[in-house]
Structures are given as C-alpha cells and as structure tokens.
C-alpha cells in the first residue's frame, strides 16, 4: 500500500505501469485520475490546493487501510498533490488491484468517496476576473459515504 502527498506533478503512465508491474497476482487493475478542469462558470487560472500536513498522510493511510480491510486487494496506491495547479494538470490518482473486477472497482470508488470528504484538502479556484472561490463541499459527496 502506497500513499504519497506531494507538490510535484506525477506521471500517470509511469505510475500506472509501476503499479501494474507490482501486482502480478491480480486480474483486475482500476485507476482513477482527477484532473483540474475549468471552473463551472469558465475562466479558471489555477487551482490552489491547501492541506493539513500533520494530518494528511495519516488520514490517507487510514482510508487506504480501511479499503484493504473491506475488499480483497493485492495493493492500493494513493497520490495526492497540493499547491498551485493549472487547468489540465493532474491533482491525484488512486489505483487498486484485486483478483476480481468488483473488488477493484468498489475499492477505488470507496477511496475516492473518502478522499473527497475525509482527507484534509481544500481547493480554491483562482479566476481570470481576479476573483477566487473556495470550492464548496457538495452534499452529494457527503451522501456518497453512506453507501459504504
């Protein structure tokens, strides 16, 4: 199980290959990648991601350990960035490997649902008009946790 919190970008292809190479016993590998997309209203200059360093890795590890306890996973990976990101840059990824696809899919969705609402990151959209907005948590993101 690997958890990385970093300011630097990551290489999706290289991370996918490295993860897949390490899970020879798995028939199913799922990855999720989150990308900075333009603000809903348009005109995004950057996304600033703040986090709580003393808590972040601890929270991510707790989420990943929970996923491994609940699904039959050979491995799981979480990478999450912080700092200033331009539109199109990758924010984070998760990867899961299991014998069967159901476990790999469910665990990846579980990781994402928990990262959204239980990992101490906060996103601020910096807009072309000079404004800036903290991204509000969505009620449906909190609701998504109830299914697990």
């Amino acid at each position: 199980m690997q958890v990385r919190v970093q300011e630097a970008g990551f290489d999706l292809g290289a991370e996918s290959d490295a993860f897949a190479a390490g899970v020879a016993g798995s028939g199913a590998i799922v990855t999720f990648t989150g990308v900075v997309r333009d603000a809903d209203a348009g005109g995004l200059v950057a996304m600033e991601i703040e986090h709580y360093p003393a808590m972040t890795e601890k929270a991510l590890e707790a989420i990943a350990i929970e996923a491994k306890a609940r699904w039959s996973l050979e491995d799981a990976l979480v990478i999450h960035r912080y700092g200033r990101l331009a539109p199109g840059e990758r924010i984070m990824m998760v990867a899961t490997a299991a014998r069967h696809r159901k476990d790999a899919f469910e665990a990846a969705e579980f990781l994402m649902d928990y990262l959204k609402s239980r990992a101490p990151f906060w996103k601020k959209e910096i807009l072309t008009d000079g404004g800036a907005d903290w991204v509000a948590a969505k009620p449906e993101d909190e609701d998504a946790l109830t299914r697990w």
Binding site: Y52, A119, W122, K124, W134, A137
Partner: protein, 81 residues
Amino acid sequence: MDVVYFAWVRERIGVPREEVETKAATVADLVAELVAREERYAAAFADLSALRVALDQELSDFDAPLAGVREVAFFPPMTGG
C-alpha cells in the same frame, strides 16, 4: 494549546496557527471564548454547521472534551480528490 485554521477559516481569522491559553472544557467552549474575543473569530465561527474540527489530527466534533489535546484544527468541509 495550538489552534490551527485552514481555507476560508484561516483567511477570516487572519493567521494559520496560534497558541491559545484556555481552560475550555470542550471544543464548543473554546469556540465561545474565541468568538467573544474579536470580531474576526465571530465571522469565522458564525455557522458551526459549516465547520469541521480535528483534535490532534483526528476528526472530532464540537462536543468533544479538550483534556489532553495539544492541537485543535478548524476548517470547512474537506474537498479532496
């Protein structure tokens, strides 16, 4: 006790971290003390339902006791992922 703030809570209060001398028994008591102190705290803590609290880097709630706690963190709901 160290008190840390993130996102718009940090912006409203104007500092990311401060040491607070307090005998507050619970998180809610600590919030009441801060709110009484200055307008910027009142602005940050106006709606507790919009806030989350962590004690020593573990999510907690406003009724939780502060005995033995070294770091209290206040922040809006998280938006990771």
